[in-house]
């Protein structure tokens, strides 16, 4: 009876130290929902109890229903036959159970059937589901679509669509990518046009659409005929009715349970979401940022599963007269995996809390405006949260999804030859992890999204405060190392800025973003080590290793390792 919430000491540690009173207060106000909904919290502690109860249910379903079906789902795959997509049996069963258990509307308001939970709690649920079956996350984790409707749609649209999501009656898809518009969404060409009465219709092709067989689609389309860039794009919502045909589904390396579809929209009736021309620049960016956090949690869940597999295999497998767990190089790999896992978990939940603050402060400010009250203080906090989220979200996705590939790689390595075989789930995990650093923006694009905030050093105040804290014992030494990393970062940053070379900066961005992440995560771990002595080990290995890597990053920049880019044509024969 494994429960993926209660059996995971590190998730429990994060949960117990969430300190999200401010977020709960922003979301629940005076807890007035308790009057109308018997499941709404009465106070802060009650809200935390609710989150805990619900996460225990997710952990139960993940551990006891989803995980045992994962291998079958991978083997069976989502199927495409006669224009119709069918989920694997295990996927159907998992979705039925998740819907039955009220878990398909985590962040939606209660009046539309949702649970009104913080994103942070939803992300934790995604982590657990992904540990059980990464491919299921691609359906369970699409609750962002409903959340986007909740944020930007009219009340009428919300009342129509949100209860369908929350009850699990409908699943969603976000139709953004096209054959010629992948990373570059500005090139989206699917046409949106109006009839004489002003009704919208969609016409064109979308490709690589996760869960493209969904009941409800959010579609990015060109509403301004003749335009070429992102400002001519608007967001639409429509039903996946007969006018939306699935032309094919892809045969993929991993996440077989998740159907990836090519769609043809044949004059599909649609409704405009929010304002015209804001499709890409506002709504898709918001949707993508939510999805990036979701994919980061997916990567973390896969990493957790791979680590568990590697650990139990290493303890069971005997070679040279002892368990390979006791062979130092293997032990060392396992410790590296564990430290990465825990430091990644600290990062994602820190990030998701900033995202929660950013979103919930917007709602609070709107209320204050309506009531004609002052909102300057909230506005300043909101701007800060928005700035930090915009940096931490892509940084988190970059770090966690790359790490998932490394952890599954090492987990397979620890299994030796058997890991390459289908008998063990680690080969599936390695395949599933591979997409995480590609979709919702490749790692390279995450660097592009993060570098601005890094160059502008937007966490400077945050780091200043941490530097002034006095840490005890081992932690004091580690705090000094972080100071050194920060100096190296500033030197590297200055070098890049002074060089004033666009090519150089684009390539060096990766080194700088990584260095900045060492600082942010390093301080998170120091703070955790102060409240939990075991975490001193995690902080120690992370920071000692980060200080070596920071030097490498610094040297790479300083030695102008990329100066040969100008000779690319001579090298790349």
């Amino acid at each position: 009876m494994p429960n993926f919430f209660t059996d995971n000491k590190d998730i429990l540690f994060q949960f117990e130290n969430f300190n999200i009173e401010d977020i709960i207060e922003l979301m629940e106000g005076n807890f007035e929902d308790a009057k109308d909904f018997n499941y709404a919290p009465k106070d802060n502690q009650d809200a935390m109890d609710n989150y805990q109860k619900t996460l225990e249910i997710v952990g139960d379903i993940a551990g006891n229903i989803v995980a045992p079906l994962a291998a079958e789902v991978d083997e069976e795959s989502a199927q495409f036959d006669n224009g119709k997509v069918t989920y694997a049996k295990g996927t159907q069963e998992a979705l039925r159970q998740l819907s039955q258990a009220d878990l398909m509307g985590f962040t939606l308001p209660r009046k539309h059937g949702g649970l009104n939970f913080p994103i942070t709690i939803y992300i934790m649920a995604i982590e657990m589901i992904s540990r059980a079956d990464a491919s299921l996350m691609n359906i369970f984790g699409l609750q962002d679509i409903a959340e986007t409707i909740n944020k930007f749609s009219s009340e009428e649209q919300k009342a129509e669509f949100l209860p369908q999501f929350a009850s699990g009656k409908a699943t969603g898809a976000m139709a953004l990518t096209e054959p010629d518009a992948g990373s570059d969404l500005q090139a989206v060409n699917l046409q949106a046009y109006q009839d004489e009465d002003g009704n919208w219709f969609l016409h064109g092709v979308k490709r690589f659409i996760t869960n493209g067989n969904a009941d409800i689609h959010l579609v990015l389309a060109r509403s301004e005929a003749g335009t070429k860039d992102g400002r001519g794009l608007s967001m639409f919502v429509c039903y996946g009715d007969d006018t939306v045909t699935v032309r094919r589904i892809e045969h993929k390396l991993g996440i077989h349970g998740s159907p990836t579809c090519e769609l043809q929209f044949n004059d599909t009736p649609a409704k405009l979401v929010g304002k015209r021309k804001f499709g890409l620049i506002k709504y898709v960016m918001d949707l993508m940022n939510g999805a990036r956090l979701g994919v980061s949690a997916q990567a973390l869940g896969i990493s957790q599963a791979a680590y568990e597999e590697a650990l139990s295999y290493a303890k069971a497998r005997e070679q040279f007269g002892k368990a390979i767990y006791d062979i130092p190089v293997v032990t060392n790999m396992l410790i590296d995996m564990r430290v990465t896992l825990e430091s990644n978990r600290s990062l994602i939940y820190a990030t998701s809390k900033w995202v929660d603050r950013r979103d919930k402060l917007i709602e609070r400010i709107e209320h204050l405006k309506e009531e004609g009250k002052a909102f300057q203080e909230e506005s300043a906090k909101q701007k800060e949260a928005a700035k930090i989220s915009a940096l931490l979200t892509p940084m988190t996705k970059y770090i966690l999804t790359e790490a998932a590939n490394k952890i599954t790689y090492d987990a397979l390595q620890i299994h030796g030859g058997t890991g390459y075989m289908k008998e063990f789930s680690v080969e599936r995990l390695a395949r599933d992890a591979r997409i995480t650093n590609i979709y919702e923006g490749t790692s390279q694009l995450q660097i592009v999204a993060a570098i601005g905030g890094v160059i502008n050093d937007i966490l400077a105040d945050h780091f200043d405060k941490n530097e002034k804290k006095s840490y005890k014992g081992t932690l004091a030494g580690l705090a000094d190392r972080l100071k050194e990393i920060r100096e190296l970062f500033y030197e590297g940053q200055k070098f890049v800025v002074d060089k004033n070379d666009r090519y150089f900066q684009d390539v060096a961005a990766k080194e700088l973003v990584e260095m900045y992440s060492y600082l942010y995560v390093g301080y998170l771990l120091l703070d955790e080590a102060e409240i939990n002595t075991r975490k001193v080990f995690i902080a120690n290995r992370y920071i000692v290793s980060a200080s070596a890597m920071a030097r490498k990053n610094y040297e790479t920049i300083k030695n102008e390792q990329f100066s040969d880019l100008l000779h690319a044509d001579e090298i790349l024969i």
Binding site: N38, Q100, A101
Partner: protein, 296 residues
Amino acid sequence: MSYHSIVLVKQVPDTANISGNVMKPDGTVNRAKLPAVFNPEDEVALELALQVKERYGGKVTAITMGPPKASDILRECLYMGADEVCLITDRKFAGADTLATSYVLSETIKKFAPYDFIFAGRQAIDGDTAQVGPQTAEKLGIPQITYAEDVIEVKKDGVTIKRRIDGGNETLKSVMPLLITVIKEATAPRPFRAKLAMAYKNAKSLMEIEKMVESNSLLLLDDLIEEYKANGLFIPTLTTEDLDVDIERCGLSGSPTKVHKIESVILAGGEHEKINPDKEGLGYLVDKLMEDHIFG
């Protein structure tokens, strides 16, 4: 047409997860060291009752007899979707064997009449007697179908049930009311519903509320009970005073079953032998297995 199902549930020590420090030297179980869980087949019985409700409408009432701590599983019944629950608890009920237990249960069930079905797990994992369900039906004077694995159809004039028998199954039809005992292979119990778990996590029985009052002199019992009732969070609690029972037939005094003897059986792994995974080793292994008549 809608139906009222009563489900008999029991909290049991988790005998599926017995570890070394749980056994006492005399071979009995130290219950305090074992986590208490929802008896697995009772959870399946509740699932079947909920399915009947979903298919035909009606309501589901879950009843348990046990110590105050048994409120835990009643809350879990609420999380799964039971409409009402009831705790039967009294020191005078303690030490009951199957006869005394089924007596108290049958007297309680009368209070919840009319009903169409009583669902119960085939047996509890602590006693493994499989007697409480059948005895309860006898005392109520209603028919019973044991070892049920599916409720095929319910109609006004009767219910069709598939039950497991040696080497297969048989399908029976019965009038209602009917008591049905359920095997765990019948179906898997549903996970808790998040909204119900949030709503009922603070539901409390009389004894739990009394405990709150004991530890806080500012609280008044009657007020608190009213408050819990008003919020739909009071778990109705019945004691000997609330039931029309003959005390002599309850608890230890109503239990003719006596433990004759407890034998501590220690199953120890025998000697083992390491055989190399090569040709000679395999040959040796086959010889050994033939010698022991494992291979013919």
